[in-house]
C-alpha cells in the first residue's frame, strides 16, 4: 500500500457513489437505532427499489442531536430530517430530486453553526464497517505520510506543536507524554487506547469507536511509530458490544489492506492491535488499574510514580491515551500542528466533544472549539432548558467533576477555567439540571456512584466515600445536624488529598462544588428539614448504611 493505492481506493469509492443519483445517510447509532432506525433503513431500501431511483442508502455513526432521532441526512440537498420513521420512507424517496419534506426538516442551524468538527468530521458520512469509506475521506493518509516522510521525533514534534492535551480528563500534554515514552529505554513498548468510558451520561468515546473506528486505529499506529512500539491494545468496556464488533471488523479490514501487521506499507514498521474487554469496573479507566486489568490481574490502581510512560504494561514503557486523543492525531498530522493550535483558547487548544444530557432541548453529541462560553453551549447549541423551567447547574466531568451554577455560565470551557470553578473537563460529559433538581441529592447520587465503584484498596476512598454517603443520606432525609456537615467537609478534604488514585482524589468534587455554590440548600435540609426542590422525602428518618 502506498499513497497512490490509497488514492485508487478513494477513487473507486467515488466512482461507485457516482452511479447513484442520491445519497441518504441513516444514523444507526444507539439512540436512533433504539427508536427504529433499522426498520426505517429497510423501508427506505424498499421504497427506493419501488420508485426505481438510484439511491445510495448508507448506515452511519452518530450525527449528533440524539434527542431528535431517528435522524437521516439527504445529501443532495444537505438536509437533515428528524424524528423519521418507516412510514416516512416513501415520501422521502419521492421528494428526492425535488423539494425537501417540510414536516421532517429540522431547524438546527444554530445547533450546528457554533460547532467545529474535527474528531467527528466523518460522523454521519461514512459506513463504519467499510474501510473504503474512511479512505475516501483522507483516511490512513496521515499514517502513510508519517511512515514515508517523517521521523518518529518529527511526529512527536508535530503533536507537541499542536498543544493537544489528553482528552481523558486530566489534560496532560499529549506531545510531552509521547516524548517521554519515546525516550524511555527498552526494546518492547506498548500503546494503549483507553476506551473504558464510564462516566454516567458520557458517550463520546463510544460514538467515535462505533462511528469511525479506523480513526482510532490510525491514531494508535501513528503513536506506535512515534514512540517505537510494535504492539497496541484497545481497552473497551464490555458494555459497548457494538463498539467491540465495529473495532474488530475495522482491525480485520486494516490488516487485510496491509495497514496493520508486519512491514506496514512496505516500510520496516510493524504494528498490530488487540482488543481487551473491561469487565464493568469504573476504576479500570484509571491508567494503572487499566494496566493491571490488561495483565489479567485485579483492576486496582498503583501509586505513581513510576508512571506508565516509564513502567507500564508488564513493566514496559507504555503510552496510554484516551479514544478521543487518538482520534485527533490523524487530522493534526494531515493539517499540521499549527492548524490545531489555532483553534481553542490560550492553554486549551483544538476542539472537544461533549455529551450533552439532562434537562436540555438538544441532547446528544457536540464538538466545539475549546474556550467557547458555557452559556453558548447550553443556550444556543443545547437549545436551552425545555418545559418552562429555569437552568440551575451543569455537571461536567461526571462523578469526578463538579456542578457549575447559572451565575458562572460565562466562563470559557477550558481545562483551567473548569478547574478554577471547582470542576474538571473530564472526558466530556455535561449533565444539565434545572430547578427540579436537588443539589444535595445530586451530590449524593455521585458519591453513591463513587462508593460502589471504589476498588477498596485504599482506606480514604473505600471507607471515606461510604461515610460521605451515609452523611449525605442523613442530610437528604432530614436527620442530619450541623455537626454532620462539618464532618462531611472534613471527610471531603481527607478523601481528596489522601486517596491513592484519581477516583478517590476527585470523588468529593460533586460535594465540594455543590457546597460552594448551593450551600443554602444543604442548610435548608439540615435546619428547616425542607428540600427546596421538593425532591428529598423528609418523612423517613431512618439511619441508612451503605
Amino acid at each position: 500500500m502506498n499513497i497512490e493505492e490509497l488514492e485508487q481506493i478513494a477513487e473507486g469509492v467515488r466512482q461507485e457513489n457516482a452511479q447513484y443519483d442520491y445519497e441518504v445517510n441513516v444514523c444507526m447509532d444507539l439512540a436512533c437505532a433504539s427508536q427504529g432506525a433499522d426498520k426505517l433503513r429497510e423501508a427506505l431500501v424498499q421504497a427506493a427499489e419501488a420508485s426505481g431511483k438510484k439511491v445510495l442508502i448508507r448506515r452511519t455513526g452518530c450525527m449528533g442531536p440524539c434527542s431528535h432521532g431517528p435522524l437521516i441526512r439527504v445529501d443532495h440537498a444537505d438536509t437533515l430530517y428528524r424524528k423519521v420513521n418507516a412510514g416516512h420512507a416513501e415520501s422521502i424517496v419521492n421528494s428526492l430530486g425535488g423539494e425537501p419534506v417540510p414536516e421532517l426538516q429540522c431547524d438546527l442551524n444554530e445547533h450546528f453553526g457554533s460547532q467545529v468538527r474535527v474528531v467527528l468530521e466523518n460522523a454521519g458520512y461514512i459506513d463504519p464497517e467499510k474501510i473504503e469509506d474512511y479512505i475516501a475521506r483522507d483516511g490512513y493518509k496521515a499514517l502513510l505520510t508519517v511512515l514515508t516522510e517523517m521521523t518518529p521525533a518529527g511526529v512527536v514534534h508535530r503533536i507537541t506543536e499542536s498543544k493537544l492535551r489528553g482528552r481523558g480528563g486530566a489534560g496532560y500534554p499529549t506531545g510531552l507524554k509521547w516524548g517521554t515514552v519515546a525516550k524511555a529505554s527498552g526494546d518492547m513498548k506498548y500503546v494503549v487506547c483507553n476506551g473504558d468510558e464510564g462516566d454516567p451520561g458520557a458517550f463520546m468515546d463510544r460514538s467515535v469507536m462505533e462511528g469511525d473506528p479506523h480513526r482510532v486505529i490510525e491514531g494508535m499506529a501513528i503513536a506506535g511509530y512515534a514512540v517505537g512500539a510494535k504492539k497496541g491494545f484497545i481497552y473497551v468496556r464490555a458494555e459497548y458490544p457494538v463498539a467491540v464488533s465495529r473495532l474488530t471488523t475495522a482491525l480485520r479490514e486494516a490488516r487485510r489492506r496491509g495497514l496493520l501487521g508486519n512491514d506496514i506499507c512496505g516500510t520496516p514498521f510493524s504494528f498490530d492491535i488487540e482488543i481487551r474487554l473491561g469487565a464493568g469496573a469504573f476504576v479500570c479507566g484509571e491508567e494503572t488499574a487499566l494496566i493491571a486489568s490488561i495483565e489479567g490481574k485485579r483492576g486496582t490502581p498503583k501509586p505513581r510514580p513510576p508512571y506508565p510512560a516509564v513502567s507500564g504494561l508488564w513493566s514496559k514503557p507504555t503510552l496510554i491515551n484516551n479514544v478521543e486523543t487518538f482520534a485527533n492525531i490523524a487530522p493534526i498530522i494531515r493539517n499540521g500542528g499549527k492548524w490545531f493550535a489555532n483553534m481553542g483558547s490560550e492553554r486549551s487548544k483544538g476542539t472537544k466533544v461533549f455529551a450533552l444530557t439532562g434537562r436540555i432541548s438538544n441532547t446528544g453529541l457536540i464538538e466545539v472549539p475549546l474556550g467557547i462560553k458555557l452559556r453558548k453551549i447550553i443556550e444556543v447549541i443545547g437549545g436551552g432548558v425545555p418545559g418552562g423551567h429555569t437552568f440551575k447547574a451543569v455537571q461536567t466531568g461526571g462523578p469526578s467533576g463538579g456542578c457549575i451554577p447559572a451565575e458562572m455560565l460565562d466562563i470559557g470551557v477550558s481545562y483551567d477555567a473548569l478547574m478554577a470553578a471547582g470542576s474538571i473537563m473530564g472526558s466530556g460529559g455535561m449533565i444539565v439540571m434545572d430547578d427540579t433538581s436537588c443539589m444535595v441529592n445530586v451530590a449524593r447520587f455521585f458519591i453513591e456512584f463513587c462508593m460502589t465503584e471504589s476498588c477498596g484498596k485504599c482506606i480514604p476512598c473505600r471507607a471515606g466515600t461510604a461515610q460521605m454517603y451515609t452523611l449525605l443520606t442523613r442530610i437528604c432525609n432530614g436527620t442530619a445536624t450541623m455537626d454532620d456537615l462539618e464532618l462531611l467537609e472534613n471527610l471531603c478534604s481527607t478523601v481528596k488529598e489522601a486517596s491513592l488514585c484519581g477516583l478517590g482524589q476527585t470523588a468529593p468534587n460533586p460535594v465540594l462544588s455543590t457546597l460552594k455554590y448551593f450551600r443554602n440548600e444543604y442548610i435548608e435540609h439540615i435546619v428547616n428539614k425542607r428540600c427546596p426542590a421538593g425532591v428529598c422525602s423528609m418523612e423517613t428518618p431512618v439511619e441508612v448504611l451503605a
Binding site: K302, P303, M451, E453, C461, R462, E497, L545
Partner: protein
Amino acid sequence: MSNGDDVKTLIIDDQEVSARRGQTILEVARENGINIPTLCHLEGLSSVGACRLCLVEIKGSNKLLPACIATVFESMEVSTDTERLRKHRRTILELLFAERNHICSVCVSNGHCELQTLAQEQGLTHIRLPYRNPNLPVDASHERFTVDHNRCILCTRCVRVCAEIEGAHVWDVMGRGINCMVITDLHEEWGSSTCTRCGKCVQVCPTGALFDKGKIGSEHPKYPDFLPYLNLMREAR
C-alpha cells in the same frame, strides 16, 4: 557504592540524612530514627501504598506521597509530621474504627494491636463518624487458625505474605469498595482451602483478624519480624 551519584542527601523533618539511590523515604526515615506511621507496609513484603498513613509532604509539591513507595532524590525536603498530615492520619484511623467492629476489650490482640497502638500514638480519643456496625462472618473452619472479618482492615499483608513468601496465594481480596473482603481460594472455607498451615498470615496480621485458636483476650502477641531474616537467608542461598 562505586558512583558518587548513588548517594543522595536530603532533609527529613529538618534533619540532614544520607541515603542510597532507590531507597524509599520510609526506609531512610526509620534508619535515622524518624517515625512515620504505617499499617499496610511490612518490611519483607512488597509495598502497596494502600493505608495512606505514611503520606508525607515534599517541599515544592502540593501532592502528598506515600513514604513506603516514594523514593528519595537529591536535596528533597520531607516533612513527616505536619498538622495537615496529622489530621488526615486521625481521619483515616477513625474511618477504620468506624468501618468494622473493632471492640478492643474482647479482642485477642488487645495490647498487641498495631491499629490500637497507632490510635494511641496519634492521640485518637473518640470516633466522630457514625459506626457502620456491619454484620460480618467469622470463619473458624481451620483446625489451627480463625479469621474474624470484623477486625480486618484490608491491609492485604496476609495476601502478600501468602503469595510472595509462602508461594501459595491462598488469600486474595474479593468484592469492591466497602464490600471488599479477604478470602481463601475462591471464597471457600479456610479449613477446606489449599492453605499450607504455615501460619505466616497470622503473624503478619496487624490486628486480631487472623489469630491462633485457643488464644483468649489480650493474649496474642504477633511476631512479624521473621520476614526480613527469612528473605535474607533465601537471598544468601
